[in-house]
Each structure stands twice: as structure tokens, then as C-alpha cells.
């Protein structure tokens, strides 16, 4: 089906030729020609194409011999962690010490302390108190946000006689 569809789609140049009166052969034969015929030779395993392996260079042979031993316990194969290139034990110690001290103690324990520190800066307390205050004001029918900081009736201002000629600066 796909072959037929593909064949039909690729007939553009042949359809141009249909403008003249031509025999159907002009359409049929090119259509059939779209089918590709593939054949291969017989698989005779007796005959094989041999490839001569490339000869190793002297340097490659030398390097292969040098790096043949990949045993981790071999002293020559040791790579330092970077702390103490000359001393294997000291280097191992510093690596494990700093990984424990910085990652386990510093990052994990420190991160835990910082995350679960009890109510830093009273942030949770402030939020709780704010909701309690809102609930109280709703219950008492007071405005939720009062423009007056305190009740004006509770403020006792001095009389004009007490103020006298004292300058008042606001």
C-alpha cells in the first residue's frame, strides 16, 4: 500500500505529459518502475574477506605494557584526593575528615538546625497572633484594620489652660 501511495505521489512530471494525448503506457510503466529491485549475492561463508590487523607501533606497545597492571592496590596506580599527594594515609584521612565535617556536620546537621530552629525571629508567633487578633475583632464587630492606633477616648489631653503658650510641634 505504501509503495502504491509513494508511487502515485511521485508522478508529478509524468502527469505533465498527460496534457498531450498519450498512451496509458506512459503512466503505467514509470509507475511500475518506482519499485526497486534489490538483490544480494549468495551468502557463502566459506569465502571471507580478511582484513590484516594494523601493526601496533612501538610507542603503543610500550604504553600498553606500562599500563597493563590496573590493580588498585598497586602503589603506582594510586591517585591522590589532592590533600596530600605524597602520603597515602594522610591523604585518605583528610579526604574523609573534610567530607564528614563539611557535608555531614555542616550541610546536613547545619541544614537540619536551620530548618527546624524554633520560630526564628518570632515569625510563626506573629502570624498566629495576627490571626487571633483578626478573629477577636470579627467577634466584637470592630474594623479589622482600625485607622486609630488606640482608642481616642482613652487619651487625656491637657486643657488649653495647662498648655498656655507652650509651642506644640507635631
Amino acid at each position: 500500500m505504501a509503495v502504491v501511495l509513494r508511487s502515485l505521489c511521485r508522478q508529478g512530471r509524468h502527469f505533465r505529459n498527460l496534457s498531450g494525448i498519450q498512451s496509458p503506457r506512459i503512466v503505467v510503466v514509470p509507475t511500475l518502475k518506482q519499485v526497486a529491485l534489490i538483490s544480494t549475492s549468495k551468502k557463502d561463508k566459506g569465502i571471507g574477506a580478511t582484513v590484516e590487523p594494523m601493526e601496533k607501533s612501538d610507542e603503543l606497545k610500550r604504553l600498553t605494557e606500562r599500563f597493563e597492571n590496573t590493580d588498585k592496590d598497586n602503589e603506582e596506580n594510586w591517585t591522590s584526593y589532592g590533600y596530600e599527594p605524597g602520603d597515602r594515609d594522610s591523604d585518605w584521612f583528610y579526604h574523609h575528615f573534610f567530607m564528614f565535617a563539611t557535608v555531614t556536620v555542616g550541610v546536613c546537621w547545619g541544614g537540619f538546625i536551620l530548618s527546624y530552629m524554633p520560630d526564628m525571629k518570632f515569625a510563626d508567633w506573629c502570624q498566629r497572633e495576627a490571626f487571633l487578633e483578626l478573629e477577636r475583632r470579627e467577634r466584637q464587630g470592630l474594623p479589622l484594620v482600625d485607622p486609630n492606633y488606640t482608642n481616642p477616648e482613652s487619651i487625656a489631653l491637657p486643657s488649653d489652660e495647662d498648655i498656655g503658650e507652650q509651642e506644640i510641634i507635631i
Binding site: 591517585t79 584526593y81 589532592g82 590533600y83 596530600e84 563539611t102 556536620v105 536551620l114
Partner: protein, 433 residues
Amino acid sequence: MISLIFGSLFLYFSWGTVGFCFILSSLVSMSLLQQNFSSSMNMYFSLNYFSVLMIFLSCILCLLALVSTPYEKVASSYSICLLVLCGVLSLAFSMSNIILFYIFFEASLIPTLMLIIGWGYQPERLQAGSYMMLYTVGASLPLLVVLIWWCVENGSMSILMLKNMGFSFPIFLTVVIYGAFLVKLPMYSFHLWLPKAHVEAPLAGSMILAGILLKLGGYGIFVMNNSFCMSPNSVSLVIISLSMWGGFLATMMCLRQVDVKALVAYSSVGHMSIVSSGLILDQTWGVTSALITMLAHGASSSALFCLAYFSYTKSHTRNIPYMKGMLQMYPILSFAWFVFCCINMAAPPTLNLVGELLVSSVLWNYSYLLAVVMGLMVFFSASYNMYLYSSINHGFHSNYLTGGTELKSFEKLSLFLHLMPLLLLFKGTLFIL
């Protein structure tokens, strides 16, 4: 905690002991965040969230400097320098007495100078050390005079007492008061010492300079705002404008750099301009942004210097064109370059992005032109980070990049640990002042 740091000086110490001391100090400084009041103080020590986070950052960075340079552990004086520096920084960030704060602020220069001169690579380190000392001391001596005058006027050296006095001072003194810290940050016009010092310093020196010593300038501005009851005035506006435009110029300078360490140094100038503007404007979001940027920049800039050094050990050069093609030879190092370049350019979701976003609204509130400059700085920050990554990693490997061993354990550990302070993004309540 300070006794832990200085006690290690007197006990028989090894390199591993010093490292463990820094880890313990970091954990203890984290526990200082749990306080019942917004600040706690006694006669000498005062701790608020700003100072505790800075102490935490200094302990972490001294630890990272130690872990990243195990080859230097042969010299015990190296560990002594780092210990003294960590101790002095912790004291500087926790002083409640303004004169003592100034003394420890200046004292931090000495171990830094010793690190640069003692373990730097090129002969130019002598000039770099001189530049650093002269710039910092030259700008801070007038500050000392003003501080002594101010303490005599108010009758107290305690920052809390000075905060509540409320006396006024001449506006022109704003330059003197902020000057020492603007040089330390550094602000653009006073930044010449920074590329020299960073480039000539050894790895630990660069990490600590970029990671925490610049932040000492930011903390100093915060302390001066408190002590002198400063609010933005006409002189402050000039300083902020100069700082923002200078930061923009510094980010453009990064695109011109050939030396990878100089590029990272100029990027620090750009980031610190955001810090200085946020602190001088003295609004809540501005100070929060400055704190977040200091923490994030401390970790990311230090990591970039680490990467520059590890790339230097592979290619034996600091020139960017000579170390191209690293993706082919060292893909893990390349991955680390990618991650930290993304963090440095404030790609989401990183702390750097939060800092830049918070300061944008503060700058817009003050003047929309500053927000325009901020936008340009953000754009060029992305461009130089992409240029840095692409120049080093893409393309065919250069002849200087010969095959070698992969990253060692301590290098991978150091880069991994640099990501840890950046995870504080998930603990946002830390930054609410």
C-alpha cells in the same frame, strides 16, 4: 565563638583542626540567629541579624579558603593568617563600640596584606599591597578624626547611645563618614586598588577579599547610618548616582578584560554599587537587598575566583583566550563555570536575583533614572557573564590546555560548598530585618 577561633592559635593545631574550628564557628554563628530580641548587646558586643549573617559568611569563607588550598598547609603561618583574619572579622562585625569597630576594621588589613605579600605569585603583588593599604588607610584616617569628635560631642562611644542622641552634623561630613567604607566596598572612583589586589592575591586572599572584606565596607555604612542618624541628603544623592553609574561602567569594563581574575574583580565593583546604593538610601527593602546581595555575592564571587585558580592550574595562564575550549577537556569544571556564571548574572532562582529586584524598587522610588541605570547594569552583567563562560568553555581547546587529571576531591568539595550559602534562598525569614 571568638574564643574558639583565637584558642586554636594557642593550642597545638594542625590544618585539619583549623578547618574543624571554622566549621564549628559557622554552626555556632548560625545558632546566634536565634535571638529573642532584634538585637542583643552588652558593653562590648552587639549582635543583630546583619552582623550575625556577616559573621556566618566570614567563617564559611575562611573554611572554604582553607579547603581550596591544601597545598599551602605546609606553612603554619598560612593557617595562622586565616585564623587571625576570621577572628578579627568576627570581632569587627560584633562590636557595639564604634571606636573598637574602627580598630578591627583597620586591623583586618594586616593579615590580608600578609596573605597577598607572602603567598602571591607575581612581583606586582608588592604594588598591589601598597595600593590596598594606602587607599584604605588614607580614606579612613579622616573618619577616625570625625568619630573621635562625634564621641566627644555625644559623650559616648556606644553605637546604641549614639543612635538615640540625634545631634546633627554638617552635611559635608557625609563624604568623610562614608568615604572609608566607599573605598572598601569599593565605589567606582575609588576602586583602583581592587583589580590589582585581587589579581595579585593568592586564591585564599582573593576569596576572602571578594567574599567578606568588601562586605566590611557595607557593614560600615550600616553602622554609620545608625551612629550618625543619617538619612539621604543632597551629598548622599551624589554618592548614590556616582555609585550606580560607576557600577554600570564597571560592568562594561568587564567585557574588555583579558585576565579572568580582573574580570571577576570588576564584576565585584558592579555588585557592590548595588549594596552601597541600597544602604545609603536607608529603606527597609534597600538594606535587605544589600544584605542579600552581600551574602550571595560573597559566595558566588569566591566561587568564581576558585574556578579561575583551578582553570589556571590546568592551563597555566590567566588569559581568557588561552584557556578556551575547556568544555572538551574538563567538562566538570565547565559545568561549574556554567552554574556559577548563571548565579553571578542573577539568573532565577538565586539569591542574587532577589537582591537586585529588591533594590530596583528602592531606586525607582528615589529616582526613575537610577532604575534605568540599574536595568542597564543588569543587562551588561548578563552579557559579561555569558562572555566569560563562552570564551573559556566553547570552541576548540587551545594548545595551552593539555590533557591532565580531572578535578581533585578538594576542588569538587570547595565548589559544592560554595553553593550552600546560596541555598539560604529557601530560608527567606533570615533576611527580614
